[in-house]
Symmetry: C2
Subunit: 417 residues, 2 copies
């Protein structure tokens, strides 16, 4: 079980978390709990580091920020004890959670779980601070912001857990953003790959890295809310969304939809380079400098230009990197040989995601027709095995999401659209 910062914000909320944990133990489960720092605490500690040293040493930064989870792990153990449970905290260096790679963004390589499993089998609830580990030189590491999700999946894999329940402030993964579409439905199951596509294009429920790790390790992850009514769901029901493998999904009785969900992302910006020479290697001249600058290019479309031997190249980058992208390309203008740079930050990427489309044609055609029927202009298209994405005017985001949600038959019954 993993609880985020909002769930751990103060002793009153920690008591609520302890009740949820105790209920799972009472239902017969052996339980390990991974906790985040209190909401706002990590920001407070990061600010201290910035004030102390703007170019901070990541090793000392890790010493400072790892303290937030240390505090909540001790407090949750104390709270569970007050409820009559056996519980103890296991800090990252105590297990230890071995990590490698740079401080402040380390990767888990191995977790020594022998003592942990023994304690859990003896009926003790293990409370583990998320986000933290131990480097080979015996110093504290952290996994990067949001790393507690990854900690939880790694612990689940290490102890061979039946399930990794990630408690958040939403009660599951939806077919689309419920703030846009009132008739969005909560998914009971979603595959790792669908979750990765949904997460990376805007359904920010879980840290992407934790989903990749769950897929690699075969950990069944459930996303659910820690703010549910205490009496409503019995402990063994699955009140949230289960993230599972393709195989488990196929074995499940669920009637599969062609499309699982619609995601949107307003953080992209479009860049067009006009009249680029249409010759081998021209595109490499554009994207090599961006890659070197760690700018993440997403959609790429090459249009045939009006003039023979020339082409227009369109692509998207994160809005935050747009200015840097322009500067880099201007510096390479002669080498690339383009005419103009046209940029537009007022765009949105709308994605239709579903493993079902692997075996069905016509998913993209449905998308294009539905959007065209409402007069929504498509600026760029990209596809993967389980996703079709289009770039549109940002103002039309909500309209496009609603239109597609209906077009793929995702609307819940009995809820006003």
């Amino acid at each position: 079980m993993k609880f985020g910062g909002t769930s751990m914000a103060g002793t009153e909320r920690i008591r609520r978390v302890a009740q949820i944990v105790r209920k799972q133990q009472a239902a017969g489960h052996e339980v390990a709990v991974v906790v985040s720092a209190m909401a706002g605490e990590t920001d407070r500690l990061v600010n201290f580091c910035r004030e102390a040293n703007p170019l901070f040493d990541p090793a000392e930064y890790d010493v400072v920020v790892a303290s937030g989870e240390q505090v909540t792990s001790g407090l949750l153990a104390l709270t569970l004890q007050a409820m009559g449970c056996q519980a103890r905290s296991w800090l990252g260096w105590q297990l230890p959670v071995h990590t490698e790679g740079a401080h402040a963004k380390a990767r888990v390589v191995d977790i020594e779980s022998h003592a942990l499993i023994e304690a859990m089998q003896a009926g003790e609830i293990a409370v583990i601070p998320g986000f933290q580990g131990l480097a080979s030189d015996n110093r504290i590491t952290t996994l990067g912001r949001g790393g507690s999700d990854t900690s939880a999946v790694a612990i689940a894999a290490a102890v061979g857990a039946d399930r990794c329940d990630i408690y958040t402030d939403v009660d599951g993964v939806y077919t689309t953003d419920p703030r846009i579409v009132a008739r969005a439905r909560k998914l009971k199951y979603v595959t790792y790959e669908e979750m990765l596509e949904l997460a990376s294009v805007g359904a920010k429920v879980l840290q992407t890295r934790s989903v990749s790790l769950a897929m690699k390790e075969g950990v069944r992850v459930q996303v659910l809310s820690s703010f549910i009514d205490d009496d409503a769901p019995p402990a063994d029901d699955l009140p949230g969304t289960m993230i599972v493998s393709d195989e488990e999904m196929e074995k499940s009785d669920m009637e599969r939809q062609l499309v699982t969900g619609i995601a949107h992302d307003k953080n992209e910006a479009r860049v067009v380079l006009t009249r680029v020479p249409d010759r081998p290697g021209a595109v490499a001249h554009i994207f090599s400098p961006l890659a070197q600058a760690s700018i993440n290019v997403d959609m790429i479309i090459q249009n045939v230009g009006r003039e023979k031997g020339e082409t227009d190249v369109t692509f998207t980058v994160p809005q935050a990197d747009l200015a840097r992208t322009q500067a880099l390309l201007e510096a390479k203008r002669e080498e690339i040989g383009f005419n103009r740079i046209i940029t537009d930050a007022k765009v949105a990427k709308i994605s239709v995601v579903g493993v079902g489309m692997r075996s069905h044609a016509g998913v993209a055609a449905t998308m294009f027709k539905a959007l065209a029927d409402r007069g929504i202009n498509i600026q760029a298209i990209s596809t993967s095995e389980i996703k079709v994405s289009v770039l549109i005017d940002e103002d039309e985001t909500e309209l496009a999401v609603r239109v597609l949600h209906t077009a793929y038959g995702l609307d819940a019954d009995g809820v006003a659209a």
Copy 2:
């Protein structure tokens, strides 16, 4: 060097501390720094523990409260790095600082200092969180409130330091409380034993345990202020008070005073049991139950009673334990066989302290005469090798301290009394 919570309260003050540390290094010293948590932080963490579980498990309490010093040690290392110094934090479990005894009040038994000394010799400033250690079962311990002074002395002993400088919000140890006597003088030297007597009777500058440890390990401790003017004292001067052994004191050129200081303590309460049977074992009946209840009895005086075969017994206990003391004695009334319990919380203990009195008679007589001359009534007397204490009416505390300060020739010249 050790810095308390007031000195570490916020990144601005930590920068001030870093400047003081850098100055010592620039003067040619190898430096290790022991730090407290930011002022108020330990209280905040203790409150969290109390809210989580009023009967908290001291092992988890230690996990929570040790985080305060972890944060400041990382921040001081970062701040020193920002000033161009090499620095790193060494947490209690990293050195490790081996401890034994109960959680939340553990005792340091051994510090592995090899890596620490190597790093210091290589020019790296070692920053060590105070108050924390490691139990033999690999769990975090803390040394009890104020334990950072003890950590500092223990580290100083482990690395064979020339000096242990304890920076506080006062600039040294005075002949008496300067708020009472304007002509109080700062002592340049004081012996461990004098410091113990001065500390335990009210001059609360250092944790008593840290002074005992310094005496046992022969660590030269200096008490000085972290709020001194940056330009005033050169780094190698001793702007504070040095706490040293008898031998060093004798070797020093200082002209020894008969009396080193006057302490006062308003936290005692007086208890009188009247008409206690004057027979063997009677006194044991009084004090055994108090000892079992961990009530610290200080002065004890047995007066000859007016009736033959009876005696009055007077003693003092901490005011906080007075109600419990009364209840315990009432429960044993028959066994002890006293007539009445008379209590008085409006008393003060005034102590005259000095190693010089070992070899000089008349110190007590001077005290009694000086107090009698001003009409101050003595309710009880107790003496040790280097201390004479009297119990008086609390309202006369300030008068008594001033009278004695003058009587023993401690007044500074040129300052209005």
